[in-house]
Symmetry: C2
Subunit: 480 residues, 2 copies
């Protein structure tokens, strides 16, 4: 295919491409700035096959990501919040020699040429052209994902993976010329980068945020300046909570794409009253973003489900014997072509041609998928399999609870028992007895947490996903 | 990819799939009826690689087209209006042994098993399963196209061609869940069949018409029951003319996809006042429908242009020396993989990797494509190249003219001269002198038709495209 940015500029030069703080760029303006960077970076990156980038969500980073892509280099996205040791591993694994980083980034890596944004701007422009085409089979990006054990894996995503991801999403959510998608999730993560890709393929504007500025976002959505936003559940809750009373969103705002776990009925109902469709979704770095999504019209009827596959995707649940729950496995043109330097681990993830996600789930009789959680998160308690997600979803309906996370802790009698880590809404609380009584009413007895504790913060990945295995390391106090 | 119909039924079983006369079928109902036909047709088609179909636009034909596709057979679409001689050639060329046809079709072909719809319905059901997957590289359909000379060519279109066509269109026009597309163009032509394909891929309803029932169509569009319609210019003119005074269309009606030639400014202005976006488009059987389209927002500003390429498509105009006009050539994932039994003709159409459309055109300074006409339609008059399209577009602005077609006729002095064939709006007319004066005002003198004649009808292909080379064979009288 023709270079997506160049094609987009030819097709719709005057449409909004990106908005950041007070600044707006059309595709034509965006491309002018990107090609200027291409001419600056051509020489220093000439010998590189892969280039690493560390950037917060800002306009400079946005332009540089595109510039590296224009030069035909594979972009290795690094997470700014990782430790020196973690990043040193990834830099070495990807054989990186040049790291592009924002000026405020302080860590230094031996043997790596670290180019700051300022240094790049100061480079002279030299004749250098963008690549003419994007080959769908070429590796466009590498993103590292951590399992609970072992080294992180460099997930190689091709242009084809990103293309089909954008198409699958459009076929499900719909799209209209003039759409704008709010990107307040990290660009270095597939949730954010997939919005950049959609922008080029759809001709869609991106409204970029460097943090989840809930008031600015609500204002934009009330003014009709955006059609779609990607969020994790806590962001959505905060948006709805911060919306001024007796006001509503603009009808241009069609869709909340919700990842990172299920939301609760009160939030769904609130959103429904506001006319906003919440599309629950399920995906991972290995599948270049969402592969399963629940339409807004089904949100209430199928509470807790992540929905149905996107059009180009197939999902199966591989169960043992008569079990209802089994391993969630996927076939998709968005599926990664491999883990960098770890073909064995990639091959090991396949089961008869299906890629095993590592998640456990089940289909209802209408073919809607429910994710019960990572196999690794499962709590084996007295012979019963308990999934934290299910317990969290039940408790999320309590208005006093801002966030809840459940993890297993070792127990002499049962092997393991679930423990609930709770952050209350400011000024609110519930007693241990009330929480237990609620659980007894909503859940099987072995799923009711053995203990309820309060925490002030939750360990999350850069993309906002809960890291349950780190919960026990948090400081907490037992709820009276 | 998973079989598109089966995937669609799994994803959105309860959405409208097709509406014909008073009948509506959801995807679930559609599939039940299609799979019933699969079980009836499995045995009689077991040994066939390709199956031919002759059908008007009706529900039985719609279901049978899908059933043959479900069985993994290549569908050879035949045009019901062709002569026995023409069809016999195509049946033989495609090595057809079984022809599925509507009950009213009367021609008989030797050596061909002709299965009528009634005969198929009377067949017993036998265990037979639809194919599990559609391979994007497999030939899904063959459609014959006629050049002005030689035998018709069987254009082989793969599932990938159709998929990318649907995607390219969606990325340009946008799409929303709940869209309905009116198919009043023939299903056996790419303009109609591409709507069937979009239905499966988008999860979109099709409102099927067996003829261009302008009042029923206007009613549907006024009631908000459809979002899109495919038309040729004369259909659009008729729609707007028949719209009751002081009424308008429903806002659900977003797009007129216009093929088969340019429209005129008064029609554009009328549509614009009604809030309907007219998307002029350009494509051919060889590119599995539109590859270039003009957004509604540009329709007036770029009158006469067919627009810009769809996102997956590249277009170039290959000019000689300093010429502005040249040969229109295309690269596209929708491009046919070949002409059946005529690899030489297919290869001959390529110019350095680009497929030559046989059309002449030019780009303006903003990259909008203008088609001047088929190279074969070009009139070489006194050393000047004259394109009928341009003359027709100019005269189409006159409200007294319902339809105009221009073709070259031999002339002793100039080699050839343009002659205009005109059908006036009922009750209206213009004199030869007025028509000539208008031309002098709008066109270079050598483009002004040497003669204006009236005709009652125009020779058109089944898809409504004008057949200029047959114009001289029409009975006509010279306008006084």
């Amino acid at each position: 295919m023709k270079n997506w940015l160049l094609q987009r500029v030819d097709l719709t030069p005057n449409r909004l491409a990106v908005r950041f703080n007070a600044q707006e760029l059309t595709f034509k303006e965006l491309n002018q700035r990107v090609q200027k960077l291409v001419r600056k970076l051509g020489a220093p990156l000439a010998a590189e096959q892969r280039v690493a980038i560390i950037t917060p969500n800002n306009l400079d980073g946005y332009l540089l990501i595109l510039a590296v892509q224009q030069l035909g280099k594979t972009i290795v996205f690094l997470n700014r919040r990782l430790s020196q040791r973690e990043l040193a591993y990834q830099l070495q694994d990807a054989a990186i020699r040049v790291l592009i980083q924002d000026d405020d980034y302080e860590l230094r890596f031996t043997g790596i040429s670290q180019l700051t944004f300022s240094a790049i701007k100061a480079l002279p422009e030299q004749a250098c052209h963008a690549v003419a085409t994007f080959d769908l089979d070429d590796v466009a990006t590498i993103m590292y994902t951590s399992g609970t054990t072992g080294n992180p894996k460099g997930v190689m995503q091709t242009f084809g993976n990103h293309f089909y991801s954008a198409i699958g999403s459009a076929l499900n959510l719909g799209m209209l010329p003039g759409d704008v998608w709010i990107a307040a999730v990290p660009l270095f993560h597939i949730s954010g980068f997939s919005i950049m890709t959609k922008s080029l393929i759809y001709g869609m504007g991106v409204s970029l945020y460097d943090h989840f500025d809930v008031d600015a976002i609500n204002t934009e959505l009330q003014n009709g300046q955006a059609s779609t936003i990607s969020v994790v559940p806590v962001m959505l809750k905060n948006m709805l909570a911060a919306l001024p009373a007796n006001t509503t969103y603009h009808p241009n705002f069609r869709t909340v794409l919700l990842g990172g776990g299920p939301t609760d009925m009160p939030t769904l109902e609130r959103a429904s009253k506001l006319g906003v469709a919440i599309v629950q979704s399920y995906g991972m770095t290995e599948t270049a973003s969402q592969v399963v999504a629940l339409a807004g019209e089904d949100a209430a009827r199928k509470l807790g489900s992540v929905g149905k596959p996107l059009f180009p995707v197939e999902i199966r649940v591989k169960t043992a014997a008569d079990a209802k729950t089994g391993r969630v496995q996927v076939k998709s043109p968005t599926l990664t072509v491999g883990y960098l330097n770890n073909e064995a681990k990639y091959q090991a993830a396949f089961d008869d041609g299906w890629f095993d996600t590592g998640d456990m789930g089940w289909f209802d009789e209408e073919g809607y998928l429910y994710i019960q959680g990572r196999e690794g998160d499962m709590i084996s308690s007295g012979g019963e399999n308990v999934f934290p997600d299910e317990i969290e979803s039940a408790y999320a309906a309590l208005p006093e609870i801002e966030t809840i996370a459940v993890a297993g802790v070792p127990d002499e009698k049962w092997g393991a028992v679930p423990v609930a880590y709770i952050k209350f809404v400011p000024g609110q609380s519930l007693t241990q007895a009330t929480l237990r009584a609620f659980g007894r009413q909503e859940l099987a007895h072995f799923k009711v947490p053995a203990k309820f504790v309060t925490v002030t913060d939750f360990p999350r990945t850069a993309s906002g996903k809960l890291q349950r295995h780190l919960l026990a390391e948090q400081s907490f106090e037992i709820i009276p």
